[in-house]
Amino acid sequence: MWGKDLRVIADKAGVVLALGEEPTFHEGDKVRVLNRSPIGHYRVPRYLRGKEALIESVIEPRALDNEEEAYGRNAGSKRHYYRIAVPMTEIWPNYAGSKNDGLRIEVFESWLERR
């Protein structure tokens, strides 16, 4: 219900969704994992930063942002969370194996940009 359907139903009901209530990305969207290096407990492995990916699915419902929680903010903030698909050849240019091989991983919305 947190995907495109939510907007359709909310529109029909005349309900305005809050900012951030809907996921920014949807299945099939082309994204890039941000290449940033904040200090601390960030759950995006370095080998994926800057890599191009596709959104495979939106993980519902929104998930507690454990990157914030790890810093004791305990704000209970929730963020959209996505399962993304990355070809192995995108991660490793010299990948030894089928070009169809791939990696799947879950990433918070704050780590993705549209491409």
Partner: protein, 218 residues
């Protein structure tokens, strides 16, 4: 027993063994854990019974739970669909609670896709359904090679995946855990659900080996 007796009965196996529980000095993290635990108890923030209870929780989770889930998915198509749609809910249906509040994605192996699971950052593992991970799952060699050269790694487990089959590695990072739903082996059409479950091993549910009809869990 004299040391040479040990040697003579075990042939070349002549290195000394530490007694279980009487090994070397505790390491840095062992001491930190003990100190923290004792402080928590001393300040009455945690009851010792709570520690013991959590160990019981963990001890009750073994690969036999995952094997039951897999076998049920093989014999019950409706359950299989529910399992693939929402692994956590389908496991809860079988009485397997998600005590650590993690979600579960079940990854189905097919003729076209072979799934392998890893946690490159640490040791995320579907503990609610499989219990504690094997030691090798936590080693840096497994964690890095699973994403860098999964086919070579799988071959070392004796699992050779043809190029026509996609190797799909799922890297667990925070809130989601994975369980591989292996392919049901051929020649098991007449097996009961219990017999099927006895074939399913922990390693098959991690994705490093297939399930075979003549090799069960021990």
């Amino acid at each position: 027993m004299e040391p040479h007796d040990h040697e003579s009965t075990h042939g070349a196996h002549d290195h000394p063994h530490a007694e279980p529980g009487a090994s070397e000095r505790p390491g840095y993290y062992d001491m930190m854990e003990t100190a923290l635990r004792e402080l928590l108890i001393e300040r009455k923030l945690v009851d010792p019974a709570e520690f013991r209870r959590q160990i019981e929780v963990l001890d009750s989770r073994t690969p036999a739970l995952g094997a039951k889930v897999v076998a049920r998915a093989w014999v019950d198509p409706a359950f299989r669909e529910r399992l693939l749609a929402n692994g956590r809910a389908a496991c809860e249906e079988c009485g397997i609670s998600s005590y650590d509040e993690t979600e579960l994605i079940v990854l189905e192996n097919t003729d076209k896709v072979h799934n392998l699971i890893v946690c490159t950052l640490c040791s995320c593992y579907p503990r609610p359904v499989l219990g504690l991970p094997p030691d090798w799952y936590k080693l840096k060699a497994y964690r890095s090679r699973a994403v860098i050269e999964p086919r070579t790694l799988l071959a070392e487990f004796g699992t050779v995946i043809p190029d026509s089959v996609e190797v799909r590695v799922s890297d667990s990072t925070a809130l989601v855990r994975y369980l591989v739903l292996p392919k049901r082996p051929e020649g098991t059409e007449h097996f009961t659900e219990e017999e099927l479950a006895s074939l399913v091993t922990r390693d098959a549910m991690i994705g490093v080996i297939p399930v075979t009809a003549n090799q069960g869990s021990t």
